[in-house]
Symmetry: C2
Amino acid sequence: MAKIQKVAELAGVSTATVSRALAGKASVSPATRARVEQAAKELGYVVSASASSLASGRTRNVGIVTPQLSSWFYMSVLDGAQRTLSDAGYDLTLYHLDANIGADLPADANPRRRRLFDEFLRRKRVDALIAVSLELNSAELASMHGLNKPVVGIGGPLPGVPTLSVDDKAIATLATEHLLSLGHRDIAHIAGDPDFELDFHLPATRRAGYEDALRGAGIEPEPLLVRSADFTIAGGYDATLQLLGDPRVHPTAIFAASDEMAIGAMLAARDLGRDVPGDLSIVGIDGHDLGGFFGLTTVDQFPQIQGRRAVETVLHELDGEHEEPSNEELPYELVVRKSTSKPRATSKP
Amino acid sequence: MAKIQKVAELAGVSTATVSRALAGKASVSPATRARVEQAAKELGYVVSASASSLASGRTRNVGIVTPQLSSWFYMSVLDGAQRTLSDAGYDLTLYHLDANIGADLPADANPRRRRLFDEFLRRKRVDALIAVSLELNSAELASMHGLNKPVVGIGGPLPGVPTLSVDDKAIATLATEHLLSLGHRDIAHIAGDPDFELDFHLPATRRAGYEDALRGAGIEPEPLLVRSADFTIAGGYDATLQLLGDPRVHPTAIFAASDEMAIGAMLAARDLGRDVPGDLSIVGIDGHDLGGFFGLTTVDQFPQIQGRRAVETVLHELDGEHEEPSNEELPYELVVRKSTSKPRATSKP
DNA sequence: CTGAAAGCGCTTACAG
DNA sequence: CTGAAAGCGCTTACAG
């Protein structure tokens, strides 16, 4: 592992010039730059991250904090972020908050969470931070701001931080209106269970979008048509069993707050002998990989793009452009496949 | 962000002592240590990663290289690794190789891959490396060894590197023998497609385990009973359609080389009106989250534990214990659920 | 456009 | 058990 001194000697310049040439500074003559690059290549020289960071104060490393490492959504965001960072020559260090531990608990209720804010994030290992679907308590927020680094949030509302998010309420409204426009009136909703999300407002927001759409069509929301589940296929399956078995309601369509729950709903409907979409139309939210296979109609929220945009925003800030702590709306798109259609007939008794 | 000097002043000691006390060195008196810890806490002092790394040569950071960021298996490994690292006070930086680009291609065929070895891995940002399911060409191997850092591999065979892996052949044999012991004779295999794995030997290994089991039972493997697919649900679905539609073969059971393909097989069987397990038994490999929901019999290979063990091995090496470049066998376990049973009757014509 | 030199914030022999 | 001091490998004003 050659050091900068060796490169300087081989190129016949000072280490200062090597540093400048390799950093791409404008003030190096083309001839010198070429010689330095050649020397560096010959020696297989790569700048030492820690020495460079210590001297410059920049790490070329971005941290990303996600609630989970096992769900498709977060992985897609991570994937998009990682590619974009890598193409910009940045490393990514991954932090991980266990979900199911609300930020409303006393801060020391979860030692891992506490340690993340008190220790890991304060080591100055990263230039900036991306927080995915996180809701922080005030101590955590203060701690994050105290880092004095660019932070951008995806999804969760983070006071004082620029944030990227899809308009969750609008997405839910769109999904519901798709069903309404097909002629459905008895539309059930499988809501997310707030206990299973760090961003605990999300389920309520989506439900509000659903109710708005109903009211917009002159339909009073029926609480019996709403069940909550844990965002998984199994959860969606079970919720659908309950929904379809309840003699008091007769949904002809289901809007599920995630694609996985929607897939669970499709499987449950099938097991109960209900034809999808003939007897029951189903829409989800996400743009999950499996959607195509199952023919699921959904609202795609392009999680990879969310990761990419978050990185772009953060790199932009690192280039010195100040971002207002406002919210940028991310794209989404209704993708109609085969799980939705007109209701076959009114199924009301 | 306080520096060590401040802590030293507040505690009334030298910076050397602060450094020692906070690093937990034995040679600090309990009283001094307590004062230093108190001072550090009061000031919210956390050691700067880059300064510490530069001075000590240790980064307290481990790199992990995975072929993909979107498959359940790699995410589970990553999850296990991240938790273990975090509990040990280590950070994790994530590197990512696009799959579908074989190591057998010329090294510069994939610029991202090349850059990983030539640049990212050489920045001295990590103390050690974990390579998941990677097969490297000789230049890449040399580059990795040239790092002079502990490397441990999960899965893929990495010459000269300690490796953790489940015995893939034995797993395949076990899955097949489970079917044989139930009385099946016409057992199909949905193999992985080597083009979709960085570790391109894996599909062949599993297939060999399958064939061994058959021969052990006096059955000559029938090539028409083997189809390959891309490790996804959709791939498994399609392969099953082909298998069950082929008039020349009459499988009563399918062994799929991954749980996702096995789930695809279950869905295909169902769509074709075949009862699982009555008409068709299905086994997978993995221990996928969805296995329980679908009632899938599988051989669990505990990917989270794989991640954890890899970290433990690497940390062990960082503590100075030299690991022989041998292979450690990881646990696996047959999990019987509802997708396998005796064949209903011989389905041979 | 380039170099000499200070300094980034720690750690660790060395000496006591 | 503790401190003074060198040094880790870069970057960057400053001067020319």
